[in-house]
């Protein structure tokens, strides 16, 4: 191996997002170009660096010249980067998104972040245990099992103030202590990686970018509670995460970080992956355990809680991916250092998946207590295209939409809950004036009624009835009394469902009714969709003033609904129009109107 001190390193981000944007081709192009020129360059892969809006991302790190980051790179741009920057030493300025010592626009995306969970994401090769160890990996596990008693580990986690990052925010140390105090015998530790919330991809990115950090956290938890068997329950929809986690487990076992007698301490742990089979409700802990046991993933009444009676009726500790990813950092750096970030009741950081109508969508980690405005405007760069921010959805199908008037609240468990939304697992979907809030409520209800396991009547039937009402309203057939019916159903479902899915299913409707009732009323009473999103309530037309008769719209219309010769005003046949929006997107003169 050449000397890392003088060698240039080129890193390509190869997470699912990067690959979807073409990063594998970029990687291949670098291999080809570097080999062709016989350059002494270290080419490596990394996971998600978080700048999903800029994928594919390439880092060029030259000793002495610092790290230069290119964004939105395609395979045919590679040759020039190799020629000018790698061989010639002069960065290609116009493609840079970030560079050490320079204030490029995307710097704000990073400078406001505090990366504890994502400490290695986008920095190391997730398939290399050596790079994880070089970055300080497994030192926390060694410290825990060789120099700390289990109760000291639990105390450290309790003192750090870490709370469950899956959404509910239960204190992690308290949970561990309950499991630890169960009388001996068989115990289990479980990672909940069944990230089902639409709009959330934190767990996927962590598992793809730094799988060892989660495995190390799991091993520390196992030691703390006295478990010798662990499970990762991962969505089957995340093939790359499953693959990289598998590599991590194999390598860690080979090096003795898991397996028999870890660090000669007498502590042993076996770890297995279970692939989920596509059921949102399996994110609920008792349903998840039923699924690991090979049954239908249906929640059961708690208590007994998993700490007392969990997997195969044995005491079990179950935490989310992000929660475990915090653990090694806390053990290495101490509870006090961790608790120095965040607010009085919400310590540390939170990872958010920023998506929707946002300039810089991606994975961000911010200290608890930052305001929503700072996250959206400063880190995320605000709403693109000159549109107005309308609401932000937190907590997925269990959460709610927070309107503009609350954009200055601090992001912590208590403040978010006060708005009617929940912190949730970290999905943050930004909506602008083109997003219809009734349609969003319908979207989430469609999801939850589909994913209801069917055990509780109000969740099974009630969500279906709510969805019917919402579809009616969006379809222009809303009736007097529908809004009140939604409110009544919502209350009943919340009151009579067993698990979190049902208890929170009405939240998207409840919060949009609370903050955007006028939009519901416009749909029901005036048969009008203020956001121009509900197809049944809009009509496409052509502005005679603006239309130049270019015939472009007549060509893109898939149903042949637009008539008109060159340089003549075009017209839309409303009977044929499917409102697919192709004409509006194609028109260069802004002449297609939607009313």
């Amino acid at each position: 191996m050449a000397d890392r001190g003088t060698q240039m390193t080129v890193t390509v981000g190869l997470s699912s997002c990067g690959i979807a944007a073409g990063a594998a081709d970029v990687m291949a192009a670098f291999e080809r170009e570097i080999e062709k020129r016989g350059l002494d360059v270290r080419l490596r892969r990394t996971g998600c660096i978080g700048m999903c809006y800029s994928e594919p991302i390439v880092d060029v790190d030259a000793p002495g010249a610092g790290r230069h980051t290119y964004g939105g790179i395609t395979a045919d741009q590679v040759e020039r980067i190799v020629d000018e920057h790698i061989a010639g030493g002069a960065p290609v300025d116009e493609w840079l998104v970030r560079a050490e010592g320079r204030d490029l626009p995307d710097e704000a995306y990073y400078s406001r972040q505090v990366r504890l969970v994502l400490r290695n994401a986008g920095m190391i090769d997730p398939e290399s245990i050596d790079e994880y160890i070089e970055a300080g990996g497994y030192a926390a596990l060694e410290k825990a099992v060789t120099s700390m008693k289990p109760e000291e580990v639990v105390k450290e986690i309790t003192d750090s103030g870490l709370r469950g990052r899956g959404g509910a925010g239960f204190p992690t140390g308290v949970k561990w202590d309950l499991a630890r105090k169960q009388p001996g015998g068989k115990k289990y530790v479980i990672v909940n990686a069944d990230e089902g919330d639409p709009g959330a991809f934190m767990d996927r990115s962590i598992l793809e970018g730094d799988p060892h950090s989660v495995l190390e956290g799991l091993a520390i938890a196992a030691y703390a509670i006295g478990a010798d068997e662990g499970y990762f329950y991962v969505r089957a929809e995340y093939p790359l995460a499953v693959k990289r986690l598998g590599i991590a487990i194999t390598d860690a076992r080979e090096r003795g970080y898991i397996g028999e007698n870890v660090f000669g301490s007498g502590f042993s742990l076996d770890v297995y992956i279970k692939e989920g089979a596509g059921a949102f409700v399996c994110g609920e802990e008792t349903a998840l355990m039923a699924s690991i046991e090979g049954r239908r993933g249906m929640p059961r009444i708690r208590p007994p809680y998993p700490a007392a009676e969990g997997l195969w009726k044995k005491p079990s500790n179950i935490n989310n991916v992000e929660t475990y990813a915090n653990v090694a950092w806390i053990i290495s750096n101490g509870a006090e250092a961790y608790a120095s970030h965040g607010t009085e009741t919400s310590k540390g950081t939170k990872v958010f998946a920023l998506a929707g109508k946002i300039e810089r969508g991606g994975l961000v980690e911010v200290p608890m207590g930052m305001t929503l405005r700072e996250v959206i405007d400063e880190v995320g760069g605000g709403v693109p295209g000159g549109h107005d921010f309308k609401a932000v959805q937190l907590g997925g199908p269990s959460g709610g939409c927070i309107p503009r008037e609350f954009i200055d609240i601090a992001v912590d468990y208590e403040s978010v809950t006060k708005t009617g939304a929940i912190m949730g697992s970290g999905g943050m979907v930004v909506m602008d004036d083109t997003t219809c809030m009734v349609d969003i409520a319908r979207f989430f209800l469609n999801f939850t009624q589909d994913e209801s396991c069917g055990k509780c009547t109000f969740c099974r039937v009630g969500t279906k009835r709510m969805l019917e009402v919402l579809e009616r309203i969006c379809g222009g057939e809303g009736r007097e009394g529908d809004i009140e019916l939604l409110e009544e159903l919502g209350e009943q479902i919340i009151a009579s469902s067993l698990c979190g899915l049902g208890q929170s299913a009405p939240n998207p409707v409840v919060t949009t009714l609370k903050y955007f009732r006028d939009e519901y009323e416009a749909h029901v009473k005036e048969k009008r969709c203020p956001a121009h999103a509900c197809k049944a309530l809009i009509t496409y037309g052509i502005d005679a003033e603006k239309c130049t008769g270019c015939t472009l719209c007549t060509k893109v219309c898939p149903t042949g609904a637009i008539a008109g010769e060159k340089r003549e005003l075009h017209t839309i046949d409303q009977d044929l129009c499917t409102k697919c929006d192709a004409c509006r997107r194609a028109c260069k003169f802004d002449a297609v109107t939607v009313d």
Binding site: S16, C17, I19, A20, A21, C52, Y53, E55, E195, G196, D197, P198, G199, A200, F201, R204, A236, E237, Y238, P239, K274, E275, G276, A277, G278, A279, F280, S291, I292, E293, G294, R295, R296, G297, W312, A353, L354, A355, G356, K357, G361, G362, Q393, G396, G427, V429, M431, T435, I440, F443, F444, F447, E451, C453, P558, T578, C580, D581, A582, R585
Partner: protein, 163 residues
């Protein structure tokens, strides 16, 4: 996930697959779901006689096998096309126009959402979030994701798979 090494219509072949997979999991606790996943990845779907055989091999009633198979969205009780075009309908994709993507893919292939083309090549499926939210709207074919799509690009990608 839908690799179809064996697409034979021969029921005996399918049962042989079950026997082979089940023997690998003999003695493993909670193996029913992995067995179903494995068998489906080999033969594409889970016909009745296959589920019955899995029940025999795993020592659980056929009704329980069917109960599990019908509970999880990953399992298919009907054959699917060579390529399953999964159109993501997560929140981000929804607000970025996933509906228009489904429409485009369906009209390109001449099927409705959830259906399989007559030549058995494609099945179109609306799926829950596949976690590429910043690249919305997204579709996934086999294990390849395609992001930042317009309806026209979605059509083009599907056409390329068809060639």
């Amino acid at each position: 996930m839908e690799k179809t090494a064996l697409r034979g219509e021969d029921a005996a072949d399918r049962l042989a697959v079950v026997d082979e997979v089940a023997s690998k999991y003999a003695g493993t606790k909670g193996a029913l779901i992995p067995i179903l996943q494995n068998v489906q990845s080999r033969i594409g779907y889970l016909p009745t006689e296959v589920m019955e055989r899995i029940g025999e091999k795993a020592g659980v009633p056929a009704a329980q096998v069917f109960g599990v198979a019908s509970f999880y969205s990953q399992f298919r009780l009907e054959p699917v096309g060579r390529y399953v075009v999964k159109v993501c309908h997560g929140t981000a994709c929804h607000v970025q126009g996933a509906g228009a993507i489904t429409e485009a893919v369906c009209s390109e292939l001449g099927v409705e959402d959830g259906e399989t083309t007559a030549d058995g090549k494609f099945t179109v499926e609306s799926v829950a979030c596949i976690g590429c939210c910043s690249l919305a709207p997204v579709i996934m074919i086999e294990e390849n994701s395609f992001g930042r799509l317009t309806p026209d690009e979605a059509r083009r990608i599907v056409r390329e798979y068809g060639d």
